[in-house]
Symmetry: C2
């Protein structure tokens, strides 16, 4: 059970509905965990049953009703326990890298295109994370915020996301160039 702790950690800063959580898992939380909305609804139900989160119904008139969840003391204790035991190594799974591994044994055209699309997507995410980080730290500069800010957890994970996306973008562009040049060279032979 691993999604469980990601949900608890994401829910530490206030009340969220399943729907809002799903959006968080698409932006900031995506830097350390990926999950689909269906999974979140199921996990929230399980967490509530186990007493690690509690929800309250909010009746809305112009919108469907929703349930807002927060972490209970038992939930915080569970996170504490989780933080202390050994972490599994992180792992990557990426279709595009599989394609690159095969790149010079198959047609490179579509792979080059996808590398460039990925680079654009990474660029967009970089900008998104940049503004998220600016929002977090307000008027402070980064060093000051990291020393004195109230809540730095989400800031730190976004920093990792930012560096990941930058590395990803640079690699995609470089590899796209390498493959394109190799294609030209071959065509000339």
């Amino acid at each position: 059970m691993a999604l469980r702790h990601a949900v608890l950690a994401a829910l530490l800063d206030g009340e969220y509905s399943g729907y809002q959580l799903a959006k968080a898992f698409d932006i900031g939380v995506a830097n350390f965990w990926h999950a689909l909305p269906q999974q979140l609804y199921m996990e929230l139900a399980r967490l509530e049953k186990d007493g690690l989160v509690a929800g309250r119904q909010v009746i809305q008139e112009t919108r469907p009703n929703k349930r807002l969840f927060h972490v209970t003391d038992a939930g915080r204790a569970e996170l504490e326990r989780f933080a202390a035991d050994v972490a599994k190594p992180s792992f990557i799974r990426d279709d595009l890298l599989v394609k690159v591994q095969a790149a010079d044994r198959i047609g490179t055209g579509p792979v080059i295109e996808q590398l460039e699309e990925r680079a654009s997507a990474a660029e967009a995410k970089i900008e998104l994370l940049g503004s998220l980080l600016r929002q977090f730290r307000g008027d402070m500069d980064e060093e000051e915020y990291l020393r004195t800010g109230e809540r730095v957890g989400p800031y730190l994970t976004c920093l990792r996301g930012l560096s990941f996306e930058e590395g990803h973008r640079d690699w995609c562009l470089r590899i796209a160039n390498v493959l394109r040049e190799r294609r030209t060279t071959r065509a000339e032979r």
Copy 2:
């Protein structure tokens, strides 16, 4: 079915047994896909049944017998098809980042320790990848190898792995320092 293509891509460069593949999935292939040996044995059986790989028995005297697999023409065609259709976005799942997200709401001691262990592990992987890359390119320098080398796919994915590990190491060390300084500051209050 996603592991399937990772196995095909890893198997492009010759014959491997399940056991050898498992080791590859622990080093170079780990840069784009993670899988346990059990999964590989199962996947190889399925791939063989579907005619995408073929295996031949090798009888050994001082070692248990083994089966060496290679990609068939049908397998190569399947990879080609795979490379052309849209790639799912890559995603990360990392326990340690979950802990960092929660960091200033729980005890940071164990998290700092784990960050430093991770940094060492990343460092070890960086060295491993460095020597792998040197082995690949022989006497050539990187640019020359990327322009003229016979088979650059595995080199390119290792480059991504290298940059990922470097980013990971740097982040771990920086975050460990940030959390440690915040702890000291709090203790002084």
